[in-house]
């Protein structure tokens, strides 16, 4: 393997890792954009989505052999899981976050931590602590492109992440609902005065964010397996990605995700930093970015009012 193709291999690895972060960061950034608080439970909703998807998929495919039906089942399972998580997300919002909207900024953060505890431990209690395999619904044999090895799964993640981003962007920028979302995000009270049902909009945003988490959860579960704490670390990383990209900004979340993935890969692969320091390097660079551009890469500078 030549050094050029090695570089491309690392690039590919970094991009797909980044794709995973980006996919989850999308949901994060949506929720944050409108509610302005870190939804710590996002990673756990992702985990619930993966479990729902796994059970639905296994039930649908039954004992049939690998074939087109598996792919169909996978997408049906994904729809079920996304719907399930959307409902879950809305319920969580209604119960645990809505009553706190007027209070301090810390209250919803702590409430979210509480929800995260409940979800992850509830799942461990109900489903056990072992990892479960999520079978690939397609043949995942690697494809060789020159010296670079890529799996169909990696491509799928990249494609889904980009499609999701574009769809979200269009939804937020072009539709009436999206406009209402932006208005609520900018100023909830004024939006209310303008006749926007901001409670409904917030609830909807939460639903969409959670559905995105479920989709991401199922896709990463193919590679990472399904277990109760699967969302914690990846959720945290995705949040970091969202912040770096400029939280509340959909393109920024994408950019932040890819940047984080590439940083983690190249810091180790090219700069020769010991792997153990991978997270340290990623975080150090992120802190640096925040110092140079405190509002994140694509974030808008918010004028402070006195």
């Amino acid at each position: 393997m030549g050094s050029v193709s090695l570089l491309f291999q690392h690039l590919m690895n970094g991009l797909t890792l980044g794709g995973i972060y980006a996919l989850i960061a999308l949901g994060y950034t949506m929720v944050y954009g409108i509610l302005k608080f870190i939804n710590f439970a996002h990673g756990d909703i992702l985990m619930v989505g993966a479990y729902i998807g796994l059970f639905a998929f296994d039930a649908l495919r039954g004992s049939s052999p690998l074939g087109p039906w598996w792919l169909v089942s996978f997408f049906i399972a994904m729809v079920i899981s996304m719907l399930g998580c959307a409902v879950l997300g809305m319920v969580i919002e209604k119960v645990a976050y809505k009553p706190l909207r007027k209070g301090s900024r810390l209250a919803p953060l702590l409430s979210a931590i509480g929800v995260s505890f409940i979800l992850s431990n509830g799942a461990a209690w109900m489903f056990g602590t072992h990892s479960r395999k999520f079978n690939y619904p397609f043949d995942n044999s690697p494809i060789h492109l020159g010296g670079v090895v890529v799996t169909p799964h990696q491509i799928l993640i990249l494609v889904v992440a980009i499609v999701m981003m574009v769809a979200l962007k269009l939804f937020v920028d072009k539709t009436k609902m999206g406009k209402a979302m932006r208005a609520t995000s900018l100023d909830g009270d004024t939006a209310k005065l303008m006749g926007i049902n901001s409670d409904m909009i917030i609830s909807l945003t939460f639903g969409i964010g959670s559905a995105l988490a479920a989709c991401g959860g199922m896709l990463i579960a193919l590679d990472y397996k399904v277990y109760a704490t699967m969302g914690t670390m990846v959720g945290l990383k995705a949040f970091v990605a969202a912040v770096v990209g400029g939280i509340g900004n959909i393109t920024g979340a994408m950019l932040g995700g890819f940047l984080l993935g590439l940083l983690e890969t190249f810091g180790v692969a090219v700069l020769g930093i010991p792997q153990g320091f991978k997270d340290a390097i990623a975080f150090a660079v992120l802190i640096l970015i925040l110092l140079l551009k405190p509002e994140g890469l694509l974030g808008k500078v918010e004028k402070e009012k006195v």
Partner: protein
């Protein structure tokens, strides 16, 4: 049973130190910091390394640990102070992760994932304060905690405390009133870090061993919960918060339920408590301590009256 209760109190004290620091940073200055685990680790490892590799006494390591933590506090505080709210949270969280990375990977210094064992016990005037004889250890902790608490309480009622509160309420206004925002923020970060470092020293001396598994992200979260649950901006409240958090997390063991209920139940109940608490009592159990302004107001009025009289 009583024995176990004392143990809870010992852990409470260790957490109380951390929550004093977090309270100064978050409760008073309004900065959302998530790096208690990082300072905690620095304190623990300073004591562990200096006592085992260099044969220092615990008391000599204590100021070094506090100083090192404070230095780290300044190091992270200075550049990140421009960041607001959640951006600061991420930067500080990143810092704590970097510390954990370093202690887990710098094998030559920290012995990596194996941790450091056989930390010598604390001695005071030749008397060993064994963690196994819990009362002595607890007494020492309480004395140290009282000293710290007293100092922090004094600090809070001083000019600096008022400045910090002003910054929390409205940074721009505080700045235009001539308060040196950066200075006060950095100092509060450093002091908060130092006292968290001290908690780390005590932790190392209690279990007589350190390993990276004790300094995870969850510690920072728990300390934040302690402060919010107790009542932000109120030192007595956060110490009470530390007790309540420790009490809750060891309650099943204390009352002999831990073997009966599933292991996850405790965590789930803790999650529920957090949610319910935030809905019904977001200001914490005791709430913020309101400054007694009556006296100040009176003085102000008196002064004004005198001034008017003089003019007349």
């Amino acid at each position: 049973m009583l024995n176990f209760f004392i143990l809870i109190l010992i852990y409470t004290c260790i957490y109380a130190f951390m929550s004093l620091g977090q309270n100064l940073i978050t409760g008073y200055s309004g900065m959302l910091s998530l790096c208690a685990a990082g300072f905690f680790a620095i304190g623990s490892y300073t004591t562990a390394i200096l006592t085992t590799s260099f044969g220092w006494s615990f008391w000599a390591t204590l100021p070094i640990a506090a100083l090192l933590s404070a230095l780290m506090g300044v190091l992270i505080g200075l550049p990140t102070l421009r960041l607001k709210g959640d951006y600061l949270a991420i930067a500080t969280l990143g810092f704590a992760e970097i510390v954990r990375n370093i202690i887990n990977n710098w094998d030559a210094l920290t012995n990596g994932p194996m941790g450091i064992q056989r930390i010598p016990m604390i001695t005071i005037f030749g008397i060993k304060i064994s963690p196994y004889q819990k009362y002595g250890f607890l007494l020492m902790e309480i004395i140290m905690l009282l000293i710290c608490w007293f100092l922090f309480e004094r600090l809070a009622s001083s000019r600096m405390g008022r400045a910090l509160e002003a910054i929390r309420e409205d940074e721009i206004a505080a700045n235009s009133m001539g308060i040196n925002v950066t200075k006060y923020k950095v100092v509060s970060f450093a002091l908060g870090a130092a006292v968290t470092g001290i908690a780390g020293c005590l932790q190392a001396e209690f279990t007589l061993s350190v390993s990276p598994g004790s300094y995870v992200f969850m510690v920072s979260i728990m300390v934040l919960c302690t402060v919010v649950l107790g009542g932000m901006g109120n030192f007595v409240a956060v110490i009470l918060g530390a007790f309540i958090i420790q009490f809750i997390s060891y309650l099943p063991q204390l009352i002999g339920l831990s073997n009966i209920i599933p292991a996850q139940a405790k965590q789930i109940i803790f999650g529920l408590i957090l949610v319910i608490m935030m809905i019904y009592r977001p200001q914490g159990i005791l709430g913020r301590k309101e400054r007694n302004n009556k006296k100040a107001e009176k003085n102000w009025l008196l002064n004004k009256k005198e001034a008017i009289n003089e003019h007349a």
